[in-house]
């Protein structure tokens, strides 16, 4: 082994960088990375070749292991080699399948030399069920006579009552491997695929379903002739009553990667199942990948994954496939058998029409269908957009609950129910307009919301009460997404309508007004928030019967506004009143008190009383810990307290607190929720500070994936997380991976303030460090130069970050001169 460790690390990173790229791009990057180092380049290229071969051979595919059936000493050792089976002599084993072992054989009487494949039922598996299936297979094959199907030559039972059959020995390569080794283009692949369809269609006409179509069951000879093997789990269609009843729900014998959903679920299998498997084959032939990569061998999990996954359009893998081939492939891959091609012939026909430039019958799914799928996906909570869509789909009740004003809702249940139902219905209608055709598959909740928001004025124009509620609901959703402007816009719209209909002194108007104030507070526009909150408070104070908790909440928000604008002393009485009120209304062990304590904690924090703040946060947490069910606002004091603890250097406690929050978030809102991701992000920062870069990486990835569902890419926190991820990758030896991330972050980072970045320096500095690690010293120097100037301007020349940046710049300069 002559690999110098360093060289190997470089080889790995170049390999990883290019392995999934199309050939042209590969070549460019290899050129760039290897330069004149031919040996290095050959090394990478031979690995890439081996990767392709490993892909095709599937030797390492999951499930990675089968249990050798002779793992334990077999009393009746298999000694068939050399023995005779019918007129044939077994020469050697050439393979094993689910049902039996396949041997290479030749005629025993030497009348003429002819190589055959002999399939013998595996010992230990010859239960009645298997024997029945095996006899069945023998019968089916005998009936099939087609140039593209391996011929059955003979069959019978051995002396020990083991069934066998003898079939044409095919020397060839699995379909996908053949196409790759021959370097076939799309057109040749399609033509070959049509031949495969021909054979399957022939079998279907003879009432035989293959049920296990996959590349290794379709060998292609040197002459380019495909041969279908192994009708081992085929079933005869209704032709004979005996088999039809028995095989409908047979045990699941198939290869999960190519199985149709109905096979995975053990449902009725028809010719359409073969259409599906052929669809996967076509997909793989066109793109080099299977549509859904299954990463576990456990059947239940596979079924789950399948049910929820829509295949990615082939054109997303290879652009040139856009249009017909996209539609054709996806039509074969539809989950519901009835919506696929009605026959293999129709499937092949479309491919032929495509080759001849004629219009094809496959169409994209209808908009209505996909919109419906979209909603149902969101409803069952699979899609990314989980929380917010649930909120919209579930109607405003959920929203109201989140604001702890469900109590009031109950008081006026009857009236509200009618409104809620109508609003609910309306919002669902809006969501159906948000179909993937309009947005693409990566639709973000905020886009759905935009689409909904764009329509409500028009559609609810003649029902102002509902329109106002709809605006407020949408405003809340935007607020949760931290989309400041639209949240404010819709809250104001609700307010305007309420003002017009009910006047300024109505509790409904006050609710909208308080919400506008809250939105403004969340988005730190305190001076605009204040008058609204004061006005709302005046109304709510006059009409305390409606819901005193509403009033207490407004007190807290106004208190927050005051403390954030340097008037913490003025906030104190409001916050204390809110706390007292919360205690009186709900008792100590209530979410209202927990929230009020949290607010007072913030107050004490801004009064420079960190010890008091910490005490309040802890008290709030202790109440939360007793509450059943635990409330989501539990996560608020965790965030603030962990920050205070970190500032005090009590990182271990901060970490344990964040982990507590993480566990709760995991159970309550799930690992796909952005709030969960944000907690992980904080934990990752601790990893980063403590220089456990490798541990920070997966957390940040999760953080980005989840928070990315709701935040635009340009959101400062997103950019920050991405940059920290890039640095963590760089520092754990994955600079090549980090580079694109850091470039992206730099591009998107215009809105990020220097203070937000102080932990990591600057975006330029991060990319510079990465490029330096990759040996791109010239670019690194430029970036590090910018970085140290910026840091000096923001924090002064004696700030540790500035000093660090200057030091790094010097290092790079020195390296360049060497």
């Amino acid at each position: 082994m002559s690999h110098a460790a360093e060289n190997w690390v470089r080889i790995k990173s170049v390999f990883a960088a290019v392995v999934d790229l199309p050939p042209e791009e590969r070549a460019t990057i290899l050129e760039e990375e290897c330069g004149s180092d031919e040996i290095f380049r050959q090394e990478v290229e031979s690995l890439l070749q081996a990767d392709a071969a490993a892909n095709a051979a599937e030797l390492f595919e999951e499930p990675p292991l089968r249990l050798p059936d002779d793992l334990l000493p077999d009393e009746e050792a298999d000694s068939v080699t050399g023995s005779s089976v019918g007129a044939y002599r077994i020469i050697e084993e050439i393979g094993r399948g689910g049902l039996g072992t396949v041997y290479l054989g030749e005629r025993a009487d030497d009348a003429y030399r002819k190589e055959v494949a002999i399939k013998l039922v595996r010992r230990g598996l010859d239960t009645e069920d298997i024997l029945e299936r095996f006899r069945h297979e023998r019968q089916i094959l005998a009936n099939l006579d087609h140039p593209y199907i391996a011929r059955l030559l003979d069959g019978g039972t051995t002396g020990q009552d083991r069934p066998y059959f003898v079939m044409e020995y095919v020397k060839g390569e699995p379909l996908t491997l053949f196409c790759d080794t021959q370097g076939l283009g799309i057109e040749d692949r399609l033509n070959l695929f049509c031949k495969v369809c021909e054979a399957v269609s022939y079998a279907h006409r003879n009432l035989v379903i293959h049920r296990d179509l996959k590349p290794t069951n379709i060998l292609v000879t040197e002459e380019g002739v495909p041969k279908l093997l192994d009708f081992g789990i085929a079933k005869v269609l209704a032709s004979d009553g005996e088999t039809s009843s028995q095989t409908v729900v047979t045990q699941r014998v198939m290869t999960p990667d190519y199985a149709s959903p109905e096979q995975l679920y053990g449902e009725r299998i028809t010719t359409s199942s073969d259409v599906y498997s052929l669809g996967i084959l076509l997909y793989e032939l066109l793109t080099g990948k299977r549509p859904a990569r299954l990463t576990t061998g456990r059947l239940a999990k596979i079924s789950d994954a399948f049910a929820e996954q829509e295949p990615i359009r082939p054109s997303r893998v290879r652009k040139s496939l856009r249009g017909d081939l996209d539609n054709i492939t996806l039509m074969a891959l539809r989950k519901e058998p009835a919506r696929r091609y009605s026959s293999v012939d129709r499937f092949a026909e479309d491919i032929r029409r495509h080759l001849e430039g004629l219009p094809v019958s496959a169409r994209q799914d209808t908009i209505a269908y996909r919109a419906q799928k979209f909603i149902s996906r969101h409803k069952v909570g699979v899609a990314a957009a989980l929380t917010i869509c649930l909120m919209l789909c579930g109607g405003i009740a959920a929203v109201l609950h989140q604001d702890q004003i469900v109590r009031r809702e109950r008081d006026r249940a009857r009236r509200a129910q009618a409104t809620t139902a109508r609003l609910n219905h309306f919002l669902q209608g809006l969501l159906s307009s948000a179909n993937p055709d309009t947005f693409g598959r990566d639709v973000k909740v905020v886009q759905v919301l935009d689409a909904a928001a764009a329509r409500i004025d028009h559609e609810l124009a003649n029902d102002p009460a509902i329109l106002a509620q709809a605006h407020l609901t949408i405003a809340r959703a935007y607020a949760q997404l931290r989309a400041a402007e639209p949240a404010e816009h819709h809250a104001r719209a609700a307010l305007a309508i309420d003002l017009k209909n009910f006047g300024p002194n109505d509790p409904k108007t006050a609710e909208a007004m308080a919400f506008v104030g809250r939105a403004l507070q969340v988005f730190r526009r305190y001076h605009e928030a204040e008058p609204l909150l004061r006005q709302a408070l005046a109304v709510q104070r006059r009409e305390p019967s409606e819901d005193r908790n509403q009033y207490a909440r407004t007190l807290m928000v106004l208190g927050t506004v005051l403390m954030k604008t340097g008037r913490a002393e003025g906030a104190a009485p409001l916050v204390e009143e809110a706390l007292t009120l919360a205690r009186a209304l709900n008792g100590e062990q209530s979410v209202q008190v927990a929230d009020a304590l949290y607010t007072r904690g913030m107050l004490r924090h801004s009064l420079r009383n960190p010890a008091g703040a910490i005490a309040d946060y802890r008290a709030s947490l202790n109440i939360h810990r007793q509450l059943k069910p635990r409330q989501l606002t539990f996560l608020d004091p965790i965030a603030d307290l962990s920050e205070l603890l970190m500032a005090k250097g009590e990182i271990a406690e901060a970490a344990s607190l964040l982990r507590e929050g993480q566990r709760f978030a995991q159970q309550s809102i799930g690992e796909d929720n952005p709030t969960y991701g944000a907690l992980l992000g904080r934990l990752a920062l601790i990893d980063f500070i403590q220089q456990r870069y490798a541990e920070a990486v997966p957390k940040l990835q999760r953080c980005l994936a989840t928070v990315g569902q709701v935040y635009p890419k340009e959101n400062p926190e997103m950019v920050l997380a991405k940059t920290v991820l890039g640095l963590a990758l760089t520092r754990s030896g994955w600079a090549a991976e980090a580079e694109p991330l850091l470039r992206e972050a730099l591009q998107q980072g215009k809105g990020v303030s220097p203070a937000q970045l102080v932990l990591i320096g600057t975006l330029e500095g991060a990319l510079g460090e990465c490029l330096a690690a990759r040996g791109k010293l010239a670019d690194a120097e430029t970036l590090l130069q910018v970085s140290s100037s910026k840091l000096e301007a923001s924090f002064g020349s004696t700030h540790p970050k500035t000093i660090e940046a200057v030091k790094r710049l010097d290092q790079v300069r020195q390296a360049r001169t060497e």
């Binding site: 082994m1 190997w8 790995k12 390999f15 990883a16 392995v19 031979s46 690995l47 890439l48 070749q49 081996a50 990767d51 490993a54 051979a57 599937e58 030797l59 390492f60 595919e61 999951e62 499930p63 990675p64 292991l65 089968r66 249990l67 050798p68 059936d69 002779d70 793992l71 334990l72 080699t81 050697e92 084993e93 050439i94 393979g95 094993r96 399948g97 689910g98 494949a117 230990g124 598996l125 069920d129 390569e173 699995p174 290794t216 069951n217 060998l219 093997l229 045990q251 699941r252 290869t255 990463t295 576990t296 061998g297 456990r298 059947l299 490798a694 990486v697 997966p698 990835q701 994955w734």
Partner: protein
Amino acid sequence: MTLAPPRDQATRLLVDLSRGDGVAAERLMPLVYDELRRLARGYLRRERSDHTLQATGLVHEAYLRLVDQSTTNWQNRAHFLGIAAQVMRRILVDHARRRGAEKRGGEWEKLEMDESLLPNDERNLDLIALDDALQDLMKFDPRQSQVVELRFFGGLTNEEVGEVLDISPRTVKREWRVARAWLHREIFAGEA
């Protein structure tokens, strides 16, 4: 001295292991070894037809049977999976060697495996060659060698491998991809 049942022993050893007791791992191995073989024997007796799914679950099943989850944590689990994968590799490779030896002794010629001849998708990877190659890989990239051991022999998912090695699933995936290519080249070098 009376011996505690294997389950109690294994659980205690795992806890010891996470406290840094290096000897615990060695004492755990024979327990895992016995359990894995016992499970394997059970599977074979049951004549299950979903053959392909057996080995993948074995390591997990051994964990469920051998370790008391109420007194252990995920780190213990990660340790266990790591050890079990190692044992699984030993069992399978030893078996392959033994079988090879038997065949040579019994005038059997070593089977020539031409993958293009295979009429089904049976994995005819030469485990002995793989084991040898892995040992080579171990010398210059121990982590990558472990990734292969855990994923291939242990049947662990990327996430689980990540847990055992304390790296991200994405890194596992990447290491696996390179390792696979490297091993493929190593094993089939000269055969092309």
